[in-house]
């Protein structure tokens, strides 16, 4: 069943210099029980996509297109209804667990508060459920942890608590914005395993946002690569990473250090992405692309579809030949 269907989503933000396009014609869909990865560097629009889904765009933003979440159109929905959906059906986990946890309140208070207001549980029922949730995310000694404050936990444990909070109202969709970027690899491995388990066990749909393609590879089913507010390539994670077609995707994969290789320089993509609102009509990556042709900047790049799962926005020949 399709849980989320985004069609031609455009978002314009009000900046000092007028309106600037932050998201440009985004299409994506998500089945229930699927993990979709959104990859890109900062400013690529990956976080903006999540904020749009949550209805948390800054004031005076313009939004157009369609955003259907389990049958409900979210574009133009009234604020009160959106708040309901945000609390119960879509929830979010952020990069820094300390920004979503109150430092002075006990874990128990913070966990149960939501359940009491949104689900109408009694205090005891909520506490029971909180213990279940903490067990689920593998917090040792959940009973006692309920009375502890966030500072008594390590960074990884805090992120697990944030995930427990996000799960409190049994959401259908979980948005995770760089939830492991601030963590050590060993801790990250644990959190990735937790996300996978939540999907397998409860059929939770997850949109996972990160710039780390290694993380994407191990966790996600499908991948959407974004650049300067646009989609550049999307497809099944395995095909996309093994056979990337867009020069940008290739570029970031090449720039990654190879854990099995020997000492050598990294292949960096030179230059910088365009500023917000300064994307050209054609390919936004043209000025950093090794296959750049004069037409790349000036004409609208058509979508090339390889099969129902793999598609990309690039039409230069050197790529079509070698794959």
């Amino acid at each position: 069943m399709t849980l989320l269907e985004v069609k031609n989503l455009n978002v314009e933000l009000l900046t000092k210099g007028g309106y600037a396009r932050a998201l440009d014609g985004i299409n994506l869909s998500l089945e229930s029980g699927e993990i979709l990865g959104i990859a890109g560097e900062s400013g690529s629009g990956k976080t903006m996509t999540a904020l749009t889904l949550l209805g948390l765009l800054p004031n005076h933003s313009k939004i157009s297109g369609s955003l259907k979440f389990s049958g409900t159109e979210l574009v133009g929905i009234d604020q009160k209804r959106m708040r309901d959906i945000r609390g119960r059906e879509i929830s979010m986990v952020f990069q820094d667990p300390m920004t979503s946890l109150h430092p002075m309140l006990s874990i128990g208070t913070q966990l149960t508060e939501h359940m009491i207001t949104h689900l109408g549980l009694s205090k005891n029922e909520a506490r029971e459920k909180a213990i279940d949730l903490l067990t689920e995310v593998r917090i040792p000694d959940p009973q006692r942890s309920l009375d502890a404050v966030p500072s008594q936990f390590s960074g990884g444990m805090r992120q697990r608590i944030c995930i427990a909070m996000a799960l409190a109202c049994d959401p259908k969709l979980l948005l995770a914005d760089e939830p492991t970027t601030a963590l050590d690899v060993t801790v990250q491995a644990g959190i990735l395993n937790l996300f996978r388990r939540l999907r397998d066990k409860h059929g939770l749909s997850i949109i996972f946002i990160t710039h780390d393609l290694g993380v994407m590879s191990s966790l996600t089913d499908r991948l959407l690569v974004m650049y300067a507010g646009r989609e550049v390539e999307s497809g099944k994670t395995s095909t996309l990473l093994q056979n990337p077609r867009h020069p940008y995707t290739r570029g970031i994969l090449d720039s990654l250090p190879d854990i099995s290789g020997s000492k050598k320089k990294l292949k960096a993509i030179m230059g910088f992405p365009p500023e917000l609102g300064k994307q050209p009509l054609g390919c936004a990556f043209h000025n950093r692309c090794p296959f750049n042709t004069p037409q790349c900047e000036s004409h609208v790049i058509p979508l090339t579809t390889l099969d129902s799962h793999h598609r990309f926005y690039c039409d230069i020949d050197p790529l079509k030949g070698d794959s």
Binding site: V185, G214, S218, T237, L241, Q242, D258, G261, A268
Partner: protein
């Protein structure tokens, strides 16, 4: 050998009054032109070790010799001139540059301190900026006009201004964007060759360390648990902690295999485990591990490990 650290320990008193040993009798050495990676989870003491080598935090015991001098902690006086060839790149390029001074004024500090006149110091700074990939016009600008990656380049240019012989880079890329990460690590690698520098690259990003370093030291709970040639360490790690670290790195191969989880947390520094510090999290723990602390031990020409398993396998 240009830098030699012997038996270095760093202790400090936490705000709650507890005495914490952040670095515990560490030995390290570095040659000119060599890149040494220092890896470990956060809180393992790698950053503190870097700062202690620089003299920013005082050592509780042990010595740090740089060329023919002992590194002394930064005091009230100016840093002795020979020690200025030992420089640090900070993790956060936002806080390591003064937001209220022009880039040019900050870059010439080191040369002015060595008695250079301002004009030639500025000329040299302009050259350095161009060398790290920025335009000389940056001299007249302020930090807020630059991105994180560009600021880190400026910080590198500043360190280069005093003609350093050893640079310690403390997580120099972890605050940067993916594409800037590769650019800045490449720049550091090029500079070590060009200026024949020794570089200590402190990072929690194992794959970068794997790719750009000659030797790797793995730290756990204030101690070096394994050190040796990068290729050897990564292809045939011996210490269970090193193995766990490598297994935890997700690989972008599209195969969909989840990284292996290392259970448990770094222990509370107030109550260090007895015996091997890693034993509570170790999959291969034997009785001896809880009672006796293993010593660093050369298992072959290019690999030194502190683990009983390595010595037993050698004795067999």
């Amino acid at each position: 050998m240009i830098l030699e650290v012997k038996n270095l320990s760093v202790t400090y008193r936490r705000q709650d009054g507890a005495h914490i040993t952040a670095v515990n009798s560490v030995d390290l050495s570095l040659d000119r032109g060599e890149v040494l990676g220092l890896v470990g989870e956060s809180g393992c003491g790698k950053s503190t070790l870097g700062k202690a080598i620089m003299g920013i935090v005082p050592a509780a015991s042990g010595t740090i010799s740089f060329k023919d001098n002992f590194v002394e902690p930064l005091g009230r006086g100016s840093r002795p001139e020979p020690l200025r060839a030992l420089q640090l790149i900070f993790q956060d390029p936002y806080s390591s540059l003064n937001p209220r001074r022009k880039i040019g004024d900050q870059l010439i500090d080191g040369l002015i301190n060595q008695g250079e006149n301002e004009k030639s110091a500025r000329q040299y700074s302009a050259q350095l900026l161009e060398r790290v990939g920025l335009s000389a016009s940056a001299l007249e600008k302020y930090t807020h006009q630059f991105s994180g990656g560009q600021r880190q380049r400026i910080a590198i240019a500043r360190a280069l201004s005093v003609k350093p012989e050893v640079i310690i880079a403390d997580e120099p890329i972890s605050a940067l964007d993916a594409s800037a990460q590769a650019q800045v690590s490449n720049l550091l690698l090029e500079l070590t060759k060009e200026f024949n520098l020794g570089l200590i690259f402190i990072s929690h990003d194992l794959s970068v360390v794997r790719q750009i370093t000659d030797r790797t030291a793995v730290m756990y709970f204030g101690e070096i648990v394994e050190i040796g040639d990068t290729d050897v360490i990564w292809n045939s790690p011996v210490h269970p902690y090193t193995k766990a670290l490598i297994e935890a790195v997700p690989k972008p191969d599209g195969k969909g295999s989840l990284p292996v989880e290392l259970s448990g947390d770094v222990p509370d520094p107030r109550f260090p485990p007895t015996g091997c510090r890693f034993n509570p999290r170790c999959k291969f723990r034997i009785d001896k591990c809880t009672s006796e602390a293993p010593q660093l031990f050369s298992i072959n020409k290019s690999q030194t490990v502190s683990c009983f398993l390595s010595s037993t396998s050698k004795n067999d």
